[in-house]
């Protein structure tokens, strides 16, 4: 029992990262019906950008007090902006020219963009794992025999704050409404005076910025990354988005946390970590057999 609870805590923090990445998949799919396979690599870029910014700030060790807050804020915001811009550039040059092409063309292009990003990162930081400094003090609390590390709390809280901010933006601002309108009916959105190209670019900006934030968080959590990290994480996050109902924001968050939990709970079994992918994708297959549009996907899903 105590093991189960421990894995639940681990799974929630893992799931927070997946959920942040899954949001980007689901937002882009919602607005242009494209599975953006390069999204996982944008997430890895987020970790590398964070690393570069920390390097510029001269941070290589644990921080405390005011420097901790300031340096972390600069790093997170910097990584989000850089990843957001990368997303906008990808959309502008790789996907927009194919906006009215058959759907397979942008899909193949997305895989190509993914290869390009992976190779660029390999050239930049080499093929081996790169360590990420432990910037946060990481005390652990033992509650009823379960160890909760500070960084786990940080990941979960951070993911939740980002999601709440995204929800507020999408549902309460004019630009958020423009995104939802564009997702539902592009022509009708144009007739409202919405600039659809700008709105789609904004969607990539936000989705990629969230991936950048996830990249920072994952650096802090795993304390290392490598150029190919986004492949696996992206696949899991994409699975999370499909599990929750692709195009559905709440579904992506739910799916992300569920995938994290499933993966962690698989560790309860002997050699479980080697089986975690099998378990995750089996659950996906089962859910899709009984609910083809995902857990929260309905006949009238709220797409963005």
């Amino acid at each position: 029992m105590h093991n189960v609870l421990q894995q639940l805590v681990n799974g929630l923090s893992l799931g927070g990262i997946y959920a942040l990445i899954a949001l980007g998949y689901t937002m882009v799919y919602g607005i242009i019906e494209l599975i953006n396979f390069a999204h996982g690599d944008v997430y890895t870029l987020g970790t590398f950008f964070s690393l570069a910014i920390l390097g510029l700030l001269g941070v290589s060790n644990q921080l405390h007090g005011t420097p901790l807050v300031i340096d972390v804020a600069i790093t997170v915001i910097g990584a989000m902006i850089l990843c957001g811009l990368v997303g906008v550039v990808i959309e502008r040059f790789a996907y927009r020219p194919l906006r009215n092409a058959p759907r397979l063309a942008p899909l193949i292009t997305a895989i190509g963009v993914s290869f390009i990003l992976e190779n660029v990162m390999q050239l930049w930081r080499g093929p081996s794992p790169v360590p990420f400094p432990q910037v946060f003090p990481n005390p652990a609390w033992v509650v009823g025999g379960i160890e909760i590390q500070a960084k786990q709390m940080m990941v979960i809280l951070f993911a939740i704050v980002m999601m709440v901010a995204l929800q507020l933006f999408i549902y309460n601002t004019k630009l958020g409404k423009a995104m939802r309108a564009t997702a539902q009916d592009r022509d009708a959105a144009q007739l409202m005076g919405i600039n659809v190209n700008a709105t789609i670019a904004l969607t990539f900006l936000i989705g990629s910025a969230l991936a950048g934030a996830a990249g920072f968080v994952s650096g802090v959590y795993y304390q290392s990354t490598w150029f190919f990290n986004g492949f696996n994480a992206g696949l899991k996050a994409f699975t999370a988005a499909v599990l929750g109902g692709i195009g559905n924001l709440a579904g992506a968050m739910l799916g992300g946390f569920l995938i994290g939990l499933i993966e962690a709970l698989a560790n309860l079994f002997p050699n479980g970590n080697q089986w975690s992918n099998v378990v995750v994708f089996s659950v996906l297959v089962l859910v899709l057999i009984f609910r083809p549009s995902g857990l929260l996907g309905e006949s009238l899903p709220e797409k963005v």
């Binding site: 409404k177 539902q184 022509d187 144009q190 007739l191 409202m192 005076g193 600039n195 009238l300 797409k303």
Partner: protein
């Protein structure tokens, strides 16, 4: 607009269409299915790029305008098939209609006017637009187009699929909107009703204008009667 051609792929949908709408008129465009009425409106909005011709609005060319610029120029378009945002509330749909505008007070005033004009929308303000009946969605599409406070309002088949009672209501509202100073370009299959309220009308057949006259004269024309009014009126 003048001498307009438009193609869908290699199929020519419009050939050399010229129509003119004067300020504060109601002009109607009638014709059978597939004649090019909707394409004409889509070309004006910028959703379809004409291959040849010119479109001017208030003396300025809007031929190369993207649809969002057309809206900003003062042309509202209530599209064929209503195209309301089904997963958004009635209120959100109407708010999106005012997307190009910033003056909160004026927008609130226009919202009040639309809701007074269409009391059913008031009752269903917080409901998702997808749960509305066809007639209510039509009202919403019109109200939404009005929320941009257009100088020219283009209505594509506002009576399609509505009960006779609702059709009468919709046409009364069109006249009222016009009386408040909005110019109207009305595309209709319901030729009789459209010609009754229109100052002038155009008949479109397979991408070409075949008749052009005052509403009353078109109503009286034997050719138009035979083709669009179901024989002698």
């Amino acid at each position: 607009m003048h001498g307009l051609d438009a193609h869908y792929g290699r199929i020519q949908a419009l050939s050399g269409i010229s129509i003119r709408v004067e300020e504060s008129e109601i002009v109607t465009l009638i014709g059978a299915n597939g004649a090019g009425k909707t394409t004409t409106l889509r070309a004006i909005s910028g959703l379809v790029r004409p291959s040849r011709g010119e479109i001017t609005f208030g003396g300025r060319s809007i031929l190369r305008n993207s649809p969002d610029h057309t809206v900003r120029a003062g042309i509202g378009h209530s599209p064929e098939g209503r195209r309301v945002f089904a997963r958004m509330s009635v209120r959100e749909n109407l708010e999106l209609g005012a997307f190009t505008r910033d003056a909160k007070g004026e927008i609130a005033g226009d919202l009040a006017y639309v809701l007074k004009t269409f009391p059913r929308l008031q009752e269903r303000l917080e409901q998702k637009a997808g749960t509305l009946s066809g007639g209510e969605q039509q009202m919403l599409a019109m109200g939404r187009a009005l929320m941009s406070r257009p100088k020219l309002l283009m209505l594509d088949e506002p009576s399609l699929g509505l009960s006779p009672l609702l059709v009468a209501t919709i046409f009364a509202v069109i006249k009222e909107i016009n009386a408040r100073g909005t110019t109207i370009l009305l595309v209709e299959q319901n030729a009789r009703q459209a010609l009754q309220i229109a100052v002038r009308g155009y008949v479109l057949e397979v991408g070409k204008i075949t008749h052009e006259d005052s509403g009353a004269n078109l109503m009286a024309s034997p050719a138009v009667q035979a083709a669009y009014l179901g024989g002698a009126a």
